[in-house]
Assembly symmetry: C2
Amino acid sequence: MLKQLPCPERIEINEVGPRDGLQIEKRFVPTEDKIRWIDALSQTGLARIEATSFTSPKAIPNLRDAAEVVNGIQRREGVEITVLVPNLKGVERALACDVDEINLVMSASESHGLANLRMTPEQSLAQFAAILDAVRAHPRAQNVFVNASLSTTFGCPFEGIVPQARALDLIARLVELGITGITLCDTTGMANPAQVKALCEAVIARWPEVAFTLHVHNTRGMGLANALAAWQAGITRFDAALGGLGGCPFAPGATGNVCTEDLVHMFEAMGVDTGVDLDALLEVATTLPELVGHDVPGQVVKAGKWDRRYAMPTH
Amino acid sequence: MLKQLPCPERIEINEVGPRDGLQIEKRFVPTEDKIRWIDALSQTGLARIEATSFTSPKAIPNLRDAAEVVNGIQRREGVEITVLVPNLKGVERALACDVDEINLVMSASESHGLANLRMTPEQSLAQFAAILDAVRAHPRAQNVFVNASLSTTFGCPFEGIVPQARALDLIARLVELGITGITLCDTTGMANPAQVKALCEAVIARWPEVAFTLHVHNTRGMGLANALAAWQAGITRFDAALGGLGGCPFAPGATGNVCTEDLVHMFEAMGVDTGVDLDALLEVATTLPELVGHDVPGQVVKAGKWDRRYAMPTH
């Protein structure tokens, strides 16, 4: 693989709204609405859609229809379907469906791991080894990519800022397990652009063979600035949620993911190719308040694109 | 003067909330509340406060008490008081008060100039020459710095994106007039980080003797990303409005300025010295909704600082 150069000309977007966006919603979004939404999203040029999570229906009631959603959506060439999987049981359920990727999850901090997954990072790593064995032994193993999301990579709502050395140590352990896709998650929007740029530069330099994704929340308004900093470090893969939906139910203070259409808008305005048809994406975004029953944080839907022109006022 | 290096270790903040923030507010904020607010702001380490605008009371009713505000505030060592001045008449009114700076304003685009000031850029430049003559002839000339804000530097809501060549041409005309402080204004949040970085790099390289300030609005969510890009280009002066108040009444689609406390928060988290006591600033920011009578967009007031820690949940 070629060494990634800073400021890539092309990036790809992983839409996590149907998973990270819906998991915190109080009102159950009907299965057929989820399917219609994902089908609409898959026509906008997104590289990947995280369609659901194969988690406990008790822990995340809104995603209790995981298999029905994955089995119900229309598959489209060039759009990968990924699903979050928190444990071994979830892997079996996920692999029974036609998914392109499973996205494992662990925390960089002990307390968030215990609060979110009831597992310390060490316990998560041990389970990842068992999960990888199960995936490799599965008949569909050749067709399923395994990604790992590292929650609280930059900061933990219980422990504070996570030192870069700790993040690098855990990423090294993931790489040793044979994982070749890793998502760096700023779960509760604690990261700043200097921190993001430094870690992204370090991981790209050390593991050029790994596909790193940045996952940020806009809790403190720094979502787009952090994405910009990661892109300057050479990151080409970004998680984002349509409308800026989202948040972790087990992380106090968590608010929405960086907003997909605002992220696409910024990069397209800069001349970076996101692969996404922004007009089509904005059209899907306008349907969100009805889908979830409340207003959403996305700003470009309200303001219009950067080149929007108004008529001159008549005095 | 030394050549500015990218990524400065220290920046300074020009609080424009009392001017740009209040000009679009429908409800008149009582003079004594404005004074109390500015007095509180001047104790937080801000370098400069744009206290009001000496404009027509008919055009901007909320700022009809300009002289009373400037004469009523407590002056504090190290905090400069600047005022917006749209025309020659305003200059006389401003210089009758004890201001450290007057901030002239013109538009980079003809249609916004006509809508906002009833002047084309050429007419504005001609008037600036007359204003500068008046200032130089005034007894207080030695103590008053003249800054010029260039509205719609990056984009105009009527004409679309403003080409960099046009912005550079107008900045050259301002420099020729002898103006040594210029604010690059993204009046309706149309700029993107690549555009901001390119223009800021160009102006710093060409006019190292001029003090350039970046003024951005967060209309499309790119406010902090644009500030980051300008800082990377070597910009050290930033306009911002507490709470993210603001907008131009004569620019359709305009929404709030980049939020002061969110901007200070980002740079302080990155280790950049803003000179501001963030805790004191956040305390003033919490009083804003009562001052203006509605919620404001600032996010750090709601989320807490980057290192905020929560107690672990008890299961």
